[in-house]
């Protein structure tokens, strides 16, 4: 009897201790958070340990999630040139290039945008593709999958793989000789149709202004809340609320309501249709 009790204590006490420790931790964390003692300023750097831990997390996460991706042949010079057009248009601003600084807005970012020369040398193409396509949360790296076609994504990776070999003079010469542009996604036939509406709403930043049921975001009241959408009678107080009209509104708000504060976000038609489908699936 006594032995059994002792054995039970042997399990219970450490459990209790662990619980207590967790409770103390939670209370401390809450106190730090709510007291305002934690500084969110980007001028304060991470602890070295925090930085290393986050880096390790990034590394392992990418390794796991990019494991099923298979890169196509990337040596084609045409691909590299197309990729450079995309790099110049969308990447250089934050990541810089050989002999070129990033724009001022990107310099003070925390974490600082990676020098892709090194990343491109160290990482396999599949990883570069994965991060370019999906973005990295809380770093400022956006997901390009809704803005670049599959082809453009791989073109960009092909160029990244060449990037470490370029001197500033090479880069400038190639930039000057560039012919094509990075085609915007909406013009392309290989648009991935399987990006769900709620992801698209987030990828176009709709939740910056609208509270949207089913989308986690700030409690913004800049635009009206998009809740119980099918119950609505009108879009923008003007158009009868049908999916077709909603697509029209999303793609060109000013044509529907000239005074509206809602901007034209350059939403591709198939994307607007997915968004409308999502909003109409609300209850």
């Amino acid at each position: 009897m006594k032995a059994r009790l002792a054995r039970r204590h042997k399990i219970l006490l450490p459990l209790l201790g662990a619980g207590l420790l967790m409770a103390v931790g939670a209370v401390t964390a809450a106190a730090v958070l709510l007291s305002g003692g934690f500084e969110v300023a980007a001028t304060r750097q991470h602890f070295l340990l925090t930085h290393r831990l986050l880096e390790a997390g990034l590394h392992f996460s990418i390794r796991t999630h990019a494991r099923d991706i298979v890169a196509p042949e990337l040596g084609n010079p045409q691909m590299v040139e197309q990729g450079m057009a995309c790099y110049r248009q969308h990447c250089e601003q934050c990541h810089g290039a050989p002999g070129r600084a990033s724009v001022p807005a990107a310099m003070g970012l925390l974490p600082v945008p990676a020098s892709l020369v090194q990343t491109a040398r160290d990482w396999p193409a599949e990883w570069l593709y994965y991060v370019t396509r999906e973005g990295v949360r809380m770093t400022g790296m956006p997901a390009w999958e809704v803005r670049l076609s599959e082809q453009s994504l791989w073109d960009t990776v092909a160029f990244l793989k060449v990037l470490p070999e370029l001197t500033p003079a090479d880069y400038a010469a190639r930039a000057a000789a560039l012919q094509g542009q990075c085609p915007p996604r909406s013009d392309l036939p290989d648009m991935r149709p399987d990006v769900p509406g709620d992801v698209l709403l987030r990828q176009y930043g709709c939740h910056a202004c609208h509270h949207i049921d089913g989308v986690t975001g700030p409690r913004s009241t800049t635009g009206p809340a998009l809740s119980s959408w099918p119950r609505r009678s009108y879009i923008a107080g003007t158009l009868p609320n049908t999916p077709e009209n909603l697509v029209r509104w999303i793609r060109d708000p000013k044509a529907v309501s000239p005074q509206t504060l809602m901007p034209d976000l350059g939403v591709a038609e198939s994307h607007a249709m997915e968004m409308a489908a999502f909003l109409f699936s609300q209850r």
Partner: protein, 142 residues
């Protein structure tokens, strides 16, 4: 029998979970008050000159605004023709078109088509005073 018991237990758990969730939502506010000094920002001062929220409530009821809008505190105001006016004080814009201040809101209530010809909201034919009262009530909805 056991199934019924389980269902009741689940229901009770769900209820307490809901209560917890509500508490959790209120917690930051409560804590803020406790710790003090963490202003929540919130809407700018939204007092409508000469408006009375009390009279506004009555006016909103009498003018049947609830036929088209959901309005907290107004009996039977469950319309879905126009947008819900829930938490109106927090809105940044009037009708998504104009800065949310007393002047714009009052003008919008009185004659919306004069401001935005394509709007489905009709000119309500309410007096300046009534509109001010209504605006005062709406700007009290947090």
């Amino acid at each position: 029998m056991a199934a019924a018991g389980l269902a009741t237990r689940l229901a009770t758990h769900a209820a307490s979970l809901l209560a917890l969730a509500r508490l959790a939502r209120a917690a930051p506010v409560v804590t803020c008050f406790l710790i003090a000094g963490c202003g929540t920002g919130g809407a700018p001062d939204s007092a409508v000159p000469g408006g009375s929220a009390q009279r506004g409530k009555l006016a909103l009821q009498q003018r049947d605004c609830g036929v088209c809008h959901r309005i907290p505190g107004i009996r039977g105001a469950r319309g879905d023709v126009g947008p819900s006016l829930h938490g109106y004080a927090q809105r940044v814009y009037v009708a998504g078109k104009f800065p949310h201040d007393a002047a714009h809101l009052v003008r919008w209530i009185r004659d919306a088509p004069a401001l935005a010809p394509r709007t489905a909201m009709p000119a309500m034919g309410v007096s300046e005073q009534e509109a001010r009262d209504m605006a005062a009530y709406l700007q009290g909805l947090r």
